[in-house]
């Protein structure tokens, strides 16, 4: 991948909480328009890496660049502008419970555009229709199911037509059918909007169905063990742990 292809570049990133180093020497890049999966065991720092990529946490050391521009060396105004080009779908949907679903989606449009109210309402209806929730604008988040909350959260994440959409464990807590439907929706939105998708997940079906690039974080060595297409990693990775993870098997440990 040439540097010009990369939308996000991470160089020698170290993530730490105080003196405790969670992950170090992370170097990878995310190609524009790709679906990138962040994989690893529970507690390895996947969600923390997502917090670094979304600008919520400053790296202990190392750099994160968007379109060749170092995020943390940019001015605060530039950082805010960059964040407006990103949408995030949190594990629970993270909808604001004091607002209706429609108001949740309308808020970023009201805050960052000068569009008239009627047009905002039409965009809200369109976003809800895109995620399959047409007619739910007046519903409070508490009145819909977990899967629907994630869809509503996705509608809010794409409200401003972001360049990058981050997903924190989108399939967590969903039944296999809802999970598959959400995966299909992510693919369709990527193909239609042309957005770059970054997913934190350990759901193997989602990883294989969606991701065309990935990184595997290890708890033991506290660094990345592999990077690349997960379908290829499952067959050809030199790391036993990565193979075990991607084949959902512990029997590989006994192999020579």
């Amino acid at each position: 991948m040439t540097p010009s292809d990369a939308l996000i570049e991470v160089q020698n990133l170290t993530m730490a909480y105080g003196d405790f180093i969670l992950q170090q020497n992370l170097t990878f890049s995310i190609k524009k328009g790709s679906i990138f999966a962040i994989m690893g065991e529970s507690g390895c720092g996947k969600s923390t890496l997502l917090r670094h990529l979304t600008g919520l946490k400053r790296p202990a050391t190392g750099d994160i660049s968007f379109s060749g521009k170092n995020f943390w060396k940019s001015s605060k105004k530039e950082r805010i502008q960059r964040m407006q080009k990103c949408g995030v779908l949190y594990q629970s949907g993270a909808l604001w419970s004091s607002m209706s679903i429609g108001e949740n989606i309308a808020l970023p449009l009201q805050q960052f555009t000068d569009l008239p109210t009627k047009l905002i309402a039409e965009i809200v209806d369109l976003k809800l229709a895109l995620v399959g929730l047409k007619g739910f604008a007046k519903y409070p988040p508490s009145a819909i199911s977990g899967g629907m909350r994630k869809r509503a959260g996705l509608a809010r994440a794409i409200a401003l037509d972001p360049e990058i959409v981050f997903f924190d464990e989108p399939s967590a807590g969903l039944d296999p059918i809802s999970s598959k439907m959400l995966d299909d929706l992510i693919l369709e939105l990527r193909d239609s909007l042309g957005a770059t998708i970054v997913i934190v997940t350990h759901e193997l079906p989602s990883i294989f169905a969606l991701a065309d690039d990935s990184i595997f974080l290890d708890t033991e060595t506290r660094t990345m063990l592999a990077t690349g297409d997960p379908n290829i990693l499952a067959r050809e990775s030199k790391s036993l742990k990565v193979k075990q993870f991607l084949s959902r098997s512990v029997s590989l440990t006994n192999q020579p």
Binding site: W96, I123, L126, G135
Partner: protein, 373 residues
């Protein structure tokens, strides 16, 4: 139309070709919503698009396009989507895909009558809940006195400490200032009649019968009642209450009983402290600014306050304690499962408790007046 985004309409026989120019994004300057209906003539049978000069597009373009196609569909005009960017066609197809349908329109804007009806039903529901909660409290105390209630004694001690010694400084400060204010206002009026010494009666009686218990209760409603509602509400959100119930531990005995009992026990003690400190506030003003000797003020206060007055204040404070804990616990236990619901439960607990305190105080005053106490 804004110069950043322009639309050209070319009529060729039965075909209307719409050419989109420039950037059709949400970030272009606001413009009045265009009326697209004039684009179509009675001869128009086919609608086609040319987006070769479309620089960039997003949801704004999609929404405007939807509006145009809607008008075309109404006029039975054939739409040829060939000229649209592939992403746009995909998104339009996706937006027409039906996945979930809202079960009803219960969250649509209600009319006035509808709103009144809903509020009346809600009021009825809440009254019913309060009655049921009172019944639960009764059953819980029966279990408590028969030794069947499960709760942590450590929790009970904590609540006693939290709503007793921990609350004392703020209750003391407010009571002192109330006593002080009463004495000041009383002194101005009574001085006109040369009856300065009766400031002691005024402050003593008001503090023991009314202000001591009531001020303590209002402070506890804002402090402890709100905290009970927030604690139990958050436990409801985190499914901690469900976890207790599924283990077979009665959540009511475990959570409500110790809180309620602690406040019922501590409220009269706080009221006694509030009485004494409020009277001391009056004493302070009486002696310093009205030149009443401390001994005279003390004598006059002792003469004014009888055991009956003191007991009236104590009865009130027990009831107020119950009301504050009741409102905090019921709002917390019946809280919804969101951050917003916890906020609403907390506000509602404080407001309801204060309203109940004032209403019951008025009731008590009338009742004791009838009894001549």
């Amino acid at each position: 139309m804004n110069p950043d985004c322009a639309l050209q309409a070319d009529h060729k026989k039965e075909t209307l070709c719409l050419t989109f120019l420039g950037s059709w994004t949400v970030h272009i300057e606001p413009c009045a919503l265009p009326d697209f209906s004039h684009l179509f003539t009675p001869q128009t049978k086919i609608l086609s698009f040319d987006t070769r000069h479309l620089i960039e597009w997003d949801s704004r373009f999609l929404v405007e396009l939807c509006r145009i196609t809607e008008i075309a569909e109404k006029q039975a005009i054939t739409i040829e989507p060939k000229g649209l960017p592939s992403g746009v066609s995909n998104l339009l197809r996706l937006s027409q895909k039906k996945t979930f349908a809202p079960p009803d329109n219960r969250y649509s804007d209600p009319g006035i009558l509808d709103g009144i009806g809903r509020h009346a039903i809600e009021f009825g529901k809440q009254s019913n809940e309060m009655l049921a909660f009172t019944g639960e409290i009764l059953l819980s105390y029966i279990r408590f006195f028969t030794g069947h209630a499960r709760y942590l004694k450590k929790d009970f001690s904590f609540f006693l400490y939290d709503c007793g010694p921990q609350a004392l400084p703020i209750v003391a400060l407010i009571s002192f200032l109330v006593g002080l204010t009463l004495a000041f206002i009383g002194a101005v009026q009574l001085k006109m009649f040369g009856a300065d010494i009766y400031v002691a009666n005024l402050v003593g009686l008001t503090m023991t019968r009314e202000m001591g218990p009531m001020m303590a209760a209002i402070i506890m409603a804002g402090r402890t009642g709100a905290s009970y509602a927030a604690q139990l509400g958050t436990m409801q959100v985190n499914e901690e209450i469900d976890a207790l119930d599924t283990m077979g531990i009665n959540s009511f005995d475990f959570l409500v009983l110790p809180r309620l009992t602690a406040l019922i026990i501590m409220m009269p003690l706080l009221a006694i402290c509030a009485d004494f400190i409020g009277i001391f506030g009056g004493f302070f003003i009486g002696c310093l600014s009205l030149d009443i000797s401390p001994a005279m003020y003390y004598e006059q206060t002792i003469k004014a306050i009888t055991l009956n007055h003191f007991l009236v204040g104590m009865i009130k404070s027990v009831v107020f304690g119950y009301l504050v804990a009741f409102c905090g616990c019921i709002k917390g236990m019946h809280c919804g499962r969101s951050a917003d619901a916890v906020g609403k439960a907390t506000t509602s607990a404080v407001v309801t408790a204060i309203v109940f305190i004032v209403i019951s105080d008025a009731g008590f005053t009338f009742f004791f007046n009838v009894l001549g106490i």
